[in-house]
């Protein structure tokens, strides 16, 4: 790091930097080549496998799936299904998120942490299927059933992340605020919550990635609309092209939300903290 002392004028590059830059460029080009090769190989194998190794009706190739897409939109069920599923996710995961954050914040107390310790472990390790079936057998098609399933599968992910953040809280700031007699509510609002925000964002992304899957699962068992329902109907009628189109369109949408929208928002939100925004 001694070089920082004699920084050259901005704009002028040394030969060493020039060489590194060229290497970097070559590296990026190589990376993109292999990445595209990956896409070509996987999609190619899929396209060839459909109709040769597997029946074309069982495993339709990517081209046929893309061709089915406009039909699905024309059928009119496309957007209503998306809306139904997103509503479920919004209600179920929204509630779970609030519960998870509250629990995470309350684990600042050792007593509360002990109380909910087993609940969090159970929720993390048991399959979403059992919550879906339990909720549905008790409440039937009423919303409590799927809300129960979504909350039970996802709240612990949020709690764990928030609790992780709490463990990393800057103790000295809190001690200082105590020493200067800052009230508890103000301490929570001005130290704890801003510090926790990145952890809450991580919780949001992880929770969402699990949440949409269990939502789709509950729709398979107890719904007459939504992506999960459409997937089940398509597979039962052996319309695999429709099945894969539903899967892929929602899959891509969920990935888009998870990776692009949330990540970008997170970055914008935390521009003031370099190490979080990375």
């Amino acid at each position: 790091m001694a070089t920082t002392l004699e920084q050259p004028a901005p704009g002028a590059r040394s030969a060493e930097e020039e060489r590194l830059l060229a290497l970097q460029k070559r590296d990026t080009r190589r990376k993109w080549f292999w990445r595209i090769a990956g896409y070509v190989v996987v999609l190619g194998v899929w396209e060839i496998a459909s109709g040769t190794i597997l029946n074309e009706n069982l495993l339709p190739g990517p081209i046929r799936i893309i061709e089915t897409f406009p039909d699905l939109i024309e059928s009119g069920r496309f957007f209503s299904s998306f809306a139904a599923t997103l509503t479920r996710i919004g209600i179920g995961f929204g509630l779970s998120f609030v519960i998870g954050i509250l629990l995470g914040i309350f684990t600042q107390s050792r007593w509360v942490e002990g109380f909910f310790k087993d609940a969090v472990t159970i929720s993390l390790v048991s399959p979403g299927l059992i919550w879906a079936l339990t909720g549905l057998v008790i409440w039937g098609f009423e919303p409590q059933g799927w809300i129960f399933a979504i909350v039970m599968t996802t709240f612990a992910l949020v709690t764990v992340n928030v609790a992780e953040g709490i463990r990393a809280l800057p103790k000295d700031l809190i001690d200082m605020s105590r020493a200067f007699g800052v009230t508890n509510t103000r301490r929570q609002r001005e130290i704890v919550i801003p510090f926790l925000a990145p952890f809450i964002f991580t919780a949001l992304r992880f929770g969402f990635s699990v949440g949409w899957k269990v939502t789709v699962l509950t729709e398979v068992f107890s719904s007459n609309e939504g992506i999960g329902f459409e997937m089940r109907v398509a597979s039962q009628l052996f319309r695999m092209d429709e099945f894969f189109t539903w899967v892929l369109s929602f899959f891509i949408f969920a990935l888009f939300l998870e990776k692009v929208v949330l990540q970008r928002y997170e970055r914008k939100f935390f521009r003031w903290r370099a190490e979080v925004a990375s």
């Binding site: 048991s126 990145p198 997170e266």
Partner: protein
């Protein structure tokens, strides 16, 4: 003021101190669940909602084989169903472990392999088990192959990601030093690469097993005629809530036992050589997550980052 508050619990004696300990809270939790259960039992307008006694009785009969229920001619009881699920899980798990380690090592060592596989690993990771279940059911029918494939597909991304991360986190200076002192390759692998891979490998095992289990039971619902997943669906279809809740509790007990009796002791063994396990926690959360990158940057010294960056320029596989 502050000192008075923090010392108060210490001065309290006897009952209050016991009541305020986290252990008491932990013991209290099951009772709280029971209380909520009874509350729902007496308030809900559902004829099939069982009381805790009913569920416990059902579970007891299943465990002692006195319920008189036979699930089929091949597997008749809880233990048979369980054995089938465990067998499928174990086979799928080991296949996923081997294949995942190979791909993960390749991705960690060669940048080309990393670029080639990365997006598809992420795609498989994010795919719901339900999709595999429905597709495999139609393709392979109700045999063993479908559920085993589901376990592999669910578990393999975790193995790949963790092994790759482990290879990348191996301290480079140790390799350089071993090279400088002329240590033979097999010794380097044994004493440098493997120990530093260990925590990541362990996280991979733990997660592949847990996720494989989750994927397996969903697949057994749609693409099997036996196994634990099928059995809980059996009680759901029969509309017997005590059966569904009883089997759900069996699942929970199994998962908890696995955590406490198998993975926690294993973790202690695997990490004996190092005092803290922060790295593993990081790898667990790293599915393209921002948090881990932040962690890495925080942890490494600023000039180390610079030197790493300049090293990235050279092809590592060349």
């Amino acid at each position: 003021m502050a000192t008075v508050v923090s010392q108060a619990p210490l001065e309290e004696q006897g009952l209050m101190r016991v009541l305020k300990s986290p252990r008491t809270a932990r013991i209290l939790f099951p009772f709280a669940v029971l209380a909520v259960w009874y509350f729902i039992y007496y308030t809900i307008d559902s004829r099939i909602f069982p009381s805790p006694q009913q569920v416990l009785e059902f579970m007891w009969e299943e465990v002692t084989l006195t319920s008189g229920i036979s699930y089929g001619s091949v597997v008749e009881n809880l233990y048979g169903q369980f054995a089938i699920s465990i067998m499928r899980l174990t086979i799928g798990f080991f296949v996923a472990l081997i294949m995942g380690t190979v791909i993960g090592l390749a991705m960690g060592i060669s940048k080309a392999a990393d670029a080639f596989f990365h997006d598809w690993v992420m795609a498989v990771l994010a795919m719901p088990a339900l999709v595999w279940a429905l597709f495999l059911g139609l393709w392979l029918g109700f045999g063993n192959l479908g559920p085993i494939l589901a376990v592999i597909l669910a578990g393999i991304p975790f193995v790949i990601i963790n092994v790759r991360e482990g290879v990348r986190n191996t301290p480079k200076d140790l390799f350089d030093m071993a090279h400088a002192f002329g240590v033979p390759q097999n010794k380097v692998t044994r004493h440098v690469l493997l120990p530093s891979l260990m925590p990541f490998f362990f996280a991979a095992i733990r997660y592949a097993y847990a996720i494989g289990w989750k994927g397996l039971v969903i697949t057994e619902v749609f693409a099997s005629d036996r196994g634990m997943g099928w059995t809980i669906k059996f009680w759901y279809d029969a509309h017997r809530a005590h059966g569904v809740i009883g089997y759900a509790l069996f699942f929970v007990i199994f998962a908890l036992a696995l955590e406490k009796l198998v993975f926690d002791p294993l973790a202690d063994r695997a990490f004996k050589w190092r005092p803290k396990i922060d790295v593993v926690e990081m790898a667990e959360g790293d599915f393209g997550a921002v948090a881990s990158e932040g962690f890495l940057l925080q942890e490494s010294e600023a000039d180390e980052v610079v030197s790493m960056k300049s090293m990235e320029g050279e092809p590592r596989d060349g």
